[in-house]
């Protein structure tokens, strides 16, 4: 009863035969061995398994792998570029936005989607956006600080090429 699917995971096309009942999180962890996506509650509450599907945060325990056929999936493993941490990862590290790290992949992916929508969020915006991701260690204070810090870094980084282009013209 296998069904063949092709999913672009972290920019790379991955094809596999899967049972329709296979959840996206199991496809990522067990078929592709991308174990950075964690399974927390397995009941759509905690947000630990959050990945981006076509750029949108989704709980991968609540989506079938076959539904991702033809779509783009980003996991925490996709954030590193050329050995350099994504600004969100760097900010979580700098601001101590994690303790045990279990919720962190989901936190960072949801936050990256937030900043794409809203590059300059308030603390309330951040807390609202992250209200589907549960952390049992940090009390959230440093997570909010990390996302704010990443927002500043990412805005500055986005401004540099624009300024350079403007200077050239």
């Amino acid at each position: 009863m296998g069904q063949s699917i092709t999913v672009t995971v972290n920019g790379e096309q991955r094809s596999a035969e899967v049972e329709p009942r296979l959840l996206l999180v199991h496809f990522l962890r067990e078929k592709l061995r991308l174990t950075g996506t964690h399974i927390g509650c397995d009941t759509t509450h905690c947000g630990a398994c959050t990945v981006l599907v076509d750029g949108t945060p989704v709980k991968s325990c609540t989506m079938l792998a076959v539904q991702a056929d033809g779509q783009q999936v980003t996991t925490v493993e996709g954030l590193l570029t050329g050995g350099a941490l994504h600004p969100m990862q760097a900010a979580f590290k700098e601001e101590h936005g994690l303790q045990c790290g279990f919720c962190t992949p989901g936190m960072m992916l949801t936050s990256i989607a937030l900043l794409k929508d809203n590059p300059d969020p308030t603390d309330d915006d951040i807390r609202w956006a992250l209200s589907g991701n549960i952390c049992r260690c940090t009390g959230y204070m440093n997570i909010v600080k990390a996302v704010k810090s990443a927002a500043v870094q990412m805005k500055a980084a986005a401004a540099v090429p624009a300024a350079t282009a403007a200077a050239r013209s």
Binding site: Q3, D42, T43, T44, V58, T62, L64, V66, G132
Partner: protein
Amino acid sequence: MLPAPFEYHAPRSVDEALDLLDQFGDEGKVLAGGQSLIPLLKLRFASPAHLVDINKIKDLDFIEERDGTLRIGPLFRHKAAERSSLLASRYQVMADAAPMIADPIIRNRGTIAGSVAHADPSGDWGTVLLAMDAELVLRSKKGSRTVKARDFFSGPFSTALEPTEILTEIRIPAAKPMTGGAYLKLERKVGDFATVAVAVQLRMDDGKVGSAGIGLTAVGPQNIKAEKAEASLKGVRLDDAAIKQAAALAADASDPKADHRGSVEYKRNVVRVFTERGLKRASERARGGG
């Protein structure tokens, strides 16, 4: 957790989906946002032999006001409702409810129509549709029929929807002038189901109530339309006495069960208080304030 095995189908058109459902009968189930259905499959409360995923069908994600009717398609997601300027400006009861559904990640995928078809007595959208006097278009291979929201819900997780049908459109009377609405929800934490919630849709007419819709969430075996409370308001001035009377009638219409979220008395009292507040907020909005 793994669902029981099923066959998966991803039709590209509504006709194709209806053919499949016709063929599968009781063994088929429509998958829209999946934010209720997939957990049910994992817990094996549901184990359909065939899942018909409608997410690959084009043109089902719509909202439009046309010919005096607000029309909402089966793939219109909670997130889109949360961001809709049309809902924010003209249908406040929906704009209030949208950001209170589950949590932001679930809202990215879950749909209004799916939530209504799922018919959880603690679901929010059914209550909103009852207050708004919505109609639901149910289509099967044999044709389509229109059912009023008040006739749609028949018990916990039970509706008039046949297994061979798809809820293809939600139809809501377009807001007339001097209409306002509100949705008030008490929840213990983000993402929890309502302890109690109340939906109000109010149209004022020359200083009096033209029509009132009141729906109740999580206080009975299904979403409840508080019809006696609605009727008590028609044609009257919305003064404190009228509001108090309607709120008492709404509390009478509720039939809550005691659980970890509260006692029967507590929940019934929240219905009363929220109906009062909802009517006041809706009337302010009908008059163009807030």
